[in-house]
């Protein structure tokens, strides 16, 4: 019996591992359970290896489990391609296609051969072995069968009746066949609760954009962020907005700068290679002080890298992209719900301060589906401060103010005419190459960051106020780090964690006071070259003489709780 179960299905692209995982996730969400569903693929467009991992729990889920309790393997060759990425727990039950005999090295596990292909054929549903497997899993692990049937009807509702019937036959036959399988394994127990929403990080960002008042989106397709383009392409036209698929990322952010200059809240979405192309236009938005939101989903890099897998290695690019002294804001998301709040906040800051704001997520959040309560998706919305009629008399678009923010007119407003410029310019927007103007305008533009750094709620802190060891991490590392902190403190260690949501401007005072309250610091990140560590070194005083350690590695494999715990324990042992 367990109240927390993690299942994974591995096969080839056509095997339907992800569809089965989707249906299971939907059914569990309908039962009011907490769900986290992640996917991983090879680089192939169709076919190739594909996997889906679903964690189900009666408690909120902070991260995907380190190890899998229940595994379905359609092909051992495909499974081998996820070596070290999908790890079965020592007591895991592995249901594998009987026609593909298990490698010797797995003999220690609870191995159960099941003829998934035959089951589907017997049910006269030869294409639905994934659903037959779902039936087997429901029976063996006590998963909710009735909600799975409903979820299938929703999922296939728009298809021909035969599609639903065929899937239901496969499912029922799977359940029936599994009755004769005798295996001792974990079984899920839970109490039903209110149904939950099931949403990915990309979807949360798209909904947040709509809620924030974004009515113009321009984007170029790129994995793993294209779902934002898909969603807004469907929904913006329904609510009076416009979605443009551009010829490249240069045009995408160009159109966003144009749309925003014309007075409409605007956003683009991309991933690393696209962000590289957008660098120059981020500089223009900063110089011309045009609000713009750029949502960037990190994937393995550099260059084309690993488009389907996660990493935290666009940090330095987000922080410094563009030549020249370029004030911008960078906000990180640490989970699906946080993606919603970070995005609305990005619009608020962009509009209030007339700056480009980069929202940094990564594939492990953007394409991960998590359960949410609809009530958690609300966030205050602020609008642009447009010039008042008073300010429009003798209007100066770039008037130097104490806050650095100047009243912004919108084309169409009489008396508000100005020329904006990527050239350095004076208060009227007229080009100027004078040192005095440049210095004064740099100071004005950078002043805006001071007020932003002082905003509340942009740093999260976990664990005791004073700790032997303090972990600093960002973005998607927050989930596993929080779990590690909970477990370490429960076992008597004294460990705290700090996760800044605001990356630029970095809330230095809060980070410094956290550092000063810890004897040692451990920085955790998925960047081979330790980008976050180097950024922190530049911005705050980290303890020296070995008191600052870094746990950093390449992405492509999720950060596990156990690797963080061993990194912490090896430090604490040194000091005992």
């Amino acid at each position: 019996m367990t109240r927390d179960l993690t299942l994974a299905i591995v096969g080839s692209g056509g095997d339907g591992a992800v569809v089965a995982g989707d249906i299971l996730s939907m059914a569990c969400a309908a039962e009011g359970l907490h769900v986290m569903k992640t996917e991983a693929y090879g680089p192939q467009i169709r076919g190739g290896e594909s996997s889906c991992t679903v964690r189900i729990s009666t408690e909120p889920i902070l991260a995907q489990a380190d190890a899998i309790d229940a595994l379905v393997v359609f092909s051992w060759d495909d499974f081998a391609r996820f070596a070290s990425e999908i790890t079965p727990a020592p007591d895991a039950t592995i249901l594998y296609e009987a026609a593909d005999s298990a490698p010797e090295s797995f003999s220690a596990f609870n191995l159960v051969p099941v003829a998934f292909g035959d089951l589907a054929r017997e049910a006269n549903a030869p294409k639905n072995k994934n659903i037959a497997a779902l039936g087997v899993m429901c029976q063996i692990f006590d998963l909710p069968a009735a909600p799975v049937r409903l979820a299938m009807e929703r999922r296939f509702g728009k298809k021909a009746a035969e599609v639903i019937e065929s899937n239901l036959r496969a499912f029922d036959h799977g359940i029936e066949a599994a009755r004769s399988i005798k295996v001792s394994t974990k079984r899920l127990v839970y109490e039903r609760a209110e149904p939950k929403l099931l949403m990915s990080g990309n979807e949360a960002v798209a909904v947040a954009a709509i809620d924030a008042g974004c009515r113009f989106f321009a984007g170029y397709p790129i994995t793993p962020s294209s779902e934002v383009l898909h969603f807004l392409g469907e929904w913006l036209p329904r609510i009076g907005g416009t979605c443009l698929q551009t010829e490249d990322e240069l045009a995408a952010i160009g159109a966003v700068v144009g749309g925003s200059f014309a007075g409409v809240k605007s956003m683009t979405a991309t991933s690393g290679p696209g962000l590289s192309l957008m660098a120059e236009m981020i500089g223009l938005a900063s110089m011309a002080e045009v609000p713009a939101v750029v949502y960037n989903v990190q994937r393995g890099g550099p260059s084309t890298g690993i488009p389907t897998k996660s990493e935290q290695s666009d940090l330095m690019h987000a922080v410094y992209a563009s030549h020249g002294d370029t004030p911008r804001v960078v906000i990180a998301c640490s989970d699906v719900e946080d993606s919603y709040h970070a995005t609305v906040e990005a619009f608020n800051i962009a509009e209030e301060f007339q700056v480009p704001v980069i929202v940094l997520s990564d594939q492990s959040i953007a394409q991960c589906r998590e359960t949410l309560d609809a009530g958690s998706l609300t966030h205050p919305v602020h609008d642009r401060r447009v010039a008042t009629p008073d300010e429009l008399s003798e209007y100066r678009r770039y008037r130097v103010t104490e806050s650095g923010v100047s009243p912004m007119s919108i084309p169409g407003m009489a008396g508000g005419m100005y020329q904006t410029n990527g050239l350095e310019h004076d208060e009227q927007g007229r080009p100027s190459s004078m040192f005095i103007t440049h210095e004064r305008m740099n100071a004005k533009r950078y002043r805006k960051l001071e007020a932003i750094a002082g905003r509340d709620g942009l740093v999260r802190r976990y664990g005791p106020a004073k700790a032997d060891l303090g972990i600093i991490c960002w973005g998607s590392s927050a989930g596993p780090v929080r779990l590690a902190v909970e477990q370490l403190n429960a076992s008597g260690a004294s460990v705290a964690a700090l996760v800044p949501q605001m990356i630029v401007p970095l809330p230095k005072a809060q980070i410094q006071s956290f550092i000063d309250g810890c004897r040692e610091i451990l920085i955790v990140e998925l960047s081979y070259s330790q980008q976050f560590h180097h950024y922190l070194r530049a911005e705050v005083d980290l303890p020296r003489g070995g008191a600052t350690q870094v746990h950093a590695r390449s992405g492509g494999k999720a950060l596990t709780v156990s690797e963080i715990i061993s990194a912490v324990e090896s430090r604490l042992e040194v000091n005992v």
Binding site: M26, A27, A29, A30, A151, P195, L197, L198, E203, V207, I210, D211, R215, F216, A218, W235, P237, R238, G240, T242, L244, T246, E247, D248, L250, A251, A252, G254, A255, V256, V257, G258, G259, S260, F261, A262, G263, V264, S266, E280, M281, L284, A288, T371, L372, A374, L377, P411, G412, A414, G415, G416, M417, Y418, Q419, T420, N421, G422, R430, P431
Partner: protein, 287 residues
């Protein structure tokens, strides 16, 4: 969008003094812009002039309207964003041949293909002026420039030929020295429904020499009266010319603009029913 009160051409002049060299063809282009805006009674505050980078891209600063002197090659994406976000505005994109055909060439293709509702004026001097005299995509084969000591190894291209091939729904050519003719072509381009491209031959006295303007003037011919503007093949016969510079409306076709298509999409989307936030969240409901 046109105003109740009329403005004189002079009233579209900003208080900024052009940085161009004496004798630059762009002065005449600017005068034509003032006259075209005045003749069409366009409200200055409802007009946006957007440029990239280059000598001619300084033009928005000299016009009393909203203006955006943006990045090298990126006038068209920005102009497209402005027009889609605020369709009521008059949007004019301007720039040089290097800006529009070299670094911005990809956007030129797609703005034309999409038929986005803007007018685009290239001031074509067959050279990079602001960076002081390097070969452009429009520079003829064999020409010596600062970057082609032994002669240009590449064949120059006519932006009008590109625009016609890319699917622009209005394509014209003007000579800056003919202010009256240029003004009339600008007016037609601004009034055109869809993407209108006007290539304005605008000599560079500094890097192409005094003779360039004289030679062009001598070669300039009006399109024959019987030219069929709806005939794409006929229009292409007046492109990549060597002995003549033919001015006038080369090609025009009436086809739905990007805004028309976007309105159609909005119609289809909204026929699915009134959309509330609850409808959007229903996508993610599990039960």
């Amino acid at each position: 969008m046109s105003c109740e009160f009329t403005y004189t051409a002079n009233e579209y002049k900003s208080d900024l003094k052009p940085v161009w060299c004496a004798g630059c063809g762009d002065f005449a282009v600017l005068n034509s812009v003032y006259r075209a805006l005045a003749d069409l009674h366009l409200e200055p505050h409802e007009t946006v002039v957007i440029s990239g980078i280059g000598c001619s891209s300084r033009l928005p600063g000299y016009v009393e309207s909203y203006g955006f002197n943006s990045l090298h090659g990126r006038a068209l994406p920005i102009a497209s964003g402005v027009k889609l976000a605020a369709p009521a505005l008059n949007v004019i994109a301007v720039g040089g041949d290097g800006d529009g055909i070299a670094i911005g060439g990809n956007h030129f293709l797609h703005a034309a293909r999409r038929n986005v509702d803007i007018a685009y004026f290239i001031m074509d001097n067959e050279i990079y002026g602001l960076t002081k005299g390097q070969a452009a995509p429009t520079t003829p084969l064999g020409d010596k420039t600062k970057s082609t000591t032994y002669g240009n190894p590449e064949t120059g291209i006519d932006p009008c030929a590109l625009a016609i091939s890319f699917g622009a729904s209005w394509v014209g050519r003007a000579f800056s020295g003919d202010v009256k003719g240029t003004t009339e072509l600008m007016k037609a381009a601004i009034q055109h429904h869809g993407f209108a491209f006007l290539n304005i031959i605008s000599p560079c006295v500094t890097w192409r020499g005094d003779h360039q303007a004289k030679e062009i003037r001598a070669k300039t011919k009006l399109l024959p009266q019987d030219h069929d503007v709806a005939d794409r093949q006929a229009a292409l016969r007046y492109t990549n010319e060597s002995e003549t510079v033919t001015t006038g409306v080369l090609y025009t076709v009436d086809r739905p603009s990007l805004l028309d298509e976007m309105a159609g999409i909005a119609g289809k989307a909204q026929r699915r029913g009134v959309t509330t936030r609850a409808d959007i969240l229903k996508v993610f409901a599990s039960a």
